[in-house]
């Protein structure tokens, strides 16, 4: 979208030239990326260390959030336009079996992709850490649920999670969630009757969204545009930790894309970053934490190749960029002959994890979700179409009001033919090769999408719904959770980082990201990313 409209055009108001983006002297730790992973590491270390955080994207002005919301509603803006994504900076290419819409799947800027995310935050299940042993496929993580359990609890406090302990299928937890769960919706009550009839259990779902004021942030006020923007700040995003890190003394430099990591054989020595004035700077530090998300993290390592590391930094194993995974969406939707009260809020309040741990070599773990936002939003419908006045109102009344839908996420296995590499034919605004995505999913995942559809269909049929759409094996897509591309392994031949998320090759370099996940499970990844980030911060602190 060009700059023709104030509400849609320019990116940010701040004057690029007035901001000091020079390197910080005597930095202890340089964190690359200010999404939740990087921001949590920075916040955790900032009190006792000199921390500098470099992010490729801008610092967004909170005063612009309503205008971003307007972009989310207005049809002339694509999703990436809401947070200024796309263009030369974010160019990428696809060469795989399936198209991967990368710029719908991330945001660059302080806060990272959580600016856009939905904010559903579950812990992985115990078997997710031992897929090979427990299910006979995939890989075991070198850590288990018990290792991460205290960090999960801490991550829930940091993000602010509203949840309840009514889910019999969730892994063991030691304490209640920091906030009470959101109450079930009216449509949940309709689903509940059908599910009871079918012997399907419903339970609450943890939300990184304030059900009451928390951490000086407002309770949810029901704007209903959580994805892609919460104007109230009730949905957690990583600006919370980036700002807190700054209050504790960290320096956060925006619009500072790191071009490469300078290094010798066993240490990273500096992050070379570009600034909007066309300059390049070198940020030296004792330790480095790479937290650029699941695609840009392997890309940065590949861009940092050298004589020591001709195939890319930290890539002695050859696995940098390999095993790219996402969760697959499975869904069914339709209409009832009664009101279903959708689209008041932008998040869901009930889920079903009953089938998750039935996973084996043939069937992947999957979870089911009961939507509160099925069918079209009337305001968005009103802005398209060639009618107005009474005819428009009639169309809105016909189109809104009786929709129901279920969604679900399915695990895909790590495969070496699903990977991220560099596209040598195409460069970004700085002349660096763009990421090239080769995404492949495999039969187990597709079979499981079908299995999820079966259950979803049975629930909707029990409800008496007329089924209107099915996101099955042919129509499935990614949930925007990029994982696996710098996998964790005890064996330096088989993975990029060790169990502490420190690279096998370089003593002072950690990776905080879902890129370290050896397998993905079927739970949204960010609570696990946050738990791992807190654990990384502890390890950095121990060693430096």
């Amino acid at each position: 979208m060009s700059a023709g409209d104030a509400r849609g055009g320019g990116t940010d108001r701040e004057a690029v030239r007035d901001i000091d983006r020079s390197p910080v002297a005597n930095a202890d730790v340089c964190v690359v990326g200010a999404g939740p992973a990087g921001a949590l590491v920075a916040d955790r270390l900032a009190a006792d260390r000199e921390i500098v955080v470099l992010d490729a994207g801008p610092r967004f002005d909170p005063a612009d959030r309503l205008a971003r919301q307007e972009r989310a509603i207005r049809p002339s803006y694509d999703r990436p336009d809401v947070w200024g994504g796309g263009g030369e900076r974010d160019a990428y290419s696809n060469a795989g079996e399936r198209f991967y819409p990368l710029n719908h799947a991330r945001v660059k800027g302080v806060g990272g992709s959580t600016l856009h995310w939905q904010g559903m935050v579950m812990r992985l299940h115990e078997d997710d850490f031992a897929s090979e042993t427990a299910r006979g496929v995939g890989a075991d993580w070198p850590i288990d649920y018990a290792d991460l359990r205290p960090y999960y609890a801490e991550a829930e406090r940091e993000l602010g999670v509203a949840g309840a302990s009514d889910n019999p299928y969730a892994p063991p937890r030691e304490e209640p969630h920091p906030m009470p769960a959101f109450e079930p919706s009216y449509s949940d009550s309709l689903f509940a009757e059908a599910c009871e009839e079918l012997g399907i259990d419903m339970h609450s779902v943890p939300n990184a969204r304030n059900s009451e004021p928390y951490d000086d942030r407002s309770a949810c006020v029901g704007y209903g545009t959580c994805q892609p923007v919460c104007p109230a700040g009730a949905k957690y995003d990583a600006t919370v930790h980036a700002e807190r890190a700054e209050e504790r003394g960290a320096t956060v430099i925006d619009r500072a894309p790191v071009q490469r990591l300078e290094h010798d054989a066993d240490r990273v020595t500096a992050a070379v970053y570009a600034t909007p004035d066309g300059e390049e700077h070198r940020q030296a530090a004792d330790a480095f934490v790479v937290a650029c998300g699941g695609v840009e993290t392997p890309r940065l390592l590949l861009l940092s190749e050298s004589d020591d590391y001709p195939d890319g930094l930290a890539n002695s194993s050859g696995t940098v960029g390999k095993f790219f995974m996402d969760h697959l969406f499975a869904g069914v939707g339709g209409t009832l002959d009664e009101p279903t009260r959708q689209n008041h809020v932008g998040f869901y309040t009930s889920a079903c994890d009953q089938f998750y741990d039935e996973a084996d070599a043939q069937t992947a773990p999957f979870k089911l979700e009961f939507f509160n936002y099925a069918g079209p939003s009337p305001v968005e419908m009103a802005l398209t179409g060639d009618d107005w006045g009474d005819a428009l109102l009639e169309r809105l009344r016909d189109g809104y009001g009786t929709h129901v839908a279920m969604g679900g996420l399915v695990e895909q296995l790590p495969r070496s033919d699903s990977y991220v590499t560099l596209d040598s034919d195409r460069t970004d605004g700085h002349g660096n090769p763009v990421p090239e995505i080769h995404w492949r999913v495999g039969d187990r995942a597709l079979r499981t999408v079908e299995r999820a559809n079966e259950i979803q269909r049975s629930v909707l049929e029990e409800l008496g719904a007329e089924i209107e759409w099915v996101a099955g094996p042919d129509a499935t897509g990614p949930a925007y959770h990029h994982m696996g591309t710098t996998r964790m392994s005890d064996d330096p031949e088989a993975g990029v980082v060790d169990a502490d998320c420190r690279t096998h090759d370089l003593d002072n370099c950690w990776i905080a990201s879902s890129s370290v996940f050896p397998t993905g499970g079927a739970m949204n990844p960010t609570l696990t990313i946050a738990a791992l980030a807190l654990r990384v911060a502890d390890d950095v602190e121990r060693r430096f």
Partner: protein, 187 residues
């Protein structure tokens, strides 16, 4: 159903108003009410219509766009525009599009938008092509009228609780209507 200025305030709370919501730089010389002097702005270099014309035209168009069961359109649109016609380039786009629509009204129907009958206003919008155009702030006249006039007004109405209620959704997307309505059953 009666629309009030309070609805306009609610609509503004939803989609934003004066106070820093615009995403591009503001023009310092172009404050609210400073309609007619922006000779350097506007589409095609035409001078922008003055504030009264913008308000009267938008209200007149709203009576066509809004369903007949809605009353109080003038107060609602007035209140909504109080917020939207700030010093932003968006406000300038609204003024420019209204100016062009008004010029079309004069040349095709011999009178400004506000003086046309409701039927002629409806015809004018369709003649301009705003019914079939997809909104685009940088597009053709049809696309700009769709963006700055038609969708501007529809957004104001249907992101407000009264507009939502017409459809059976008292807490529409864009309106911070709390966390109770999603739990309530139909009335």
């Amino acid at each position: 159903m009666e629309l009030t200025r309070r609805d306009a305030v609610a609509a503004l709370a939803a989609v934003g108003a004066t106070g820093g919501v615009a995403l591009a730089a503001r023009r310092t010389s172009d404050g609210p009410g400073a309609g007619g002097d922006a000779a350097d702005g506007g589409e095609g270099g035409d001078s922008l219509p003055d504030e009264a014309v913008v308000r009267a035209s938008m209200t007149a168009v709203a009576t066509v766009l809004y369903p007949s069961e809605i009353d109080g359109v003038e107060a609602f649109v007035g209140g909504f525009l109080d917020g939207r016609l700030d010093g932003s380039t968006h406000a300038e786009g609204v003024r420019a599009a209204v100016g062009e629509l008004d010029a079309a009204a004069r040349s095709w129907h011999g009178a400004p938008v506000a003086d046309l009958t409701e039927r002629d206003r409806d015809r004018l919008l369709r003649e301009v092509g705003a019914d079939t155009a997809a909104e685009d702030p940088d597009g053709t006249l049809a696309e700009r009228v769709r963006y700055y006039v038609v969708n501007e007004l529809l957004l104001g109405l249907y992101a407000s609780p009264t507009g939502g209620e017409l459809v059976g959704l008292e807490n529409p997307q864009g309106h911070p209507g709390g966390t109770e309505s999603y739990r309530r059953g139909p009335r």
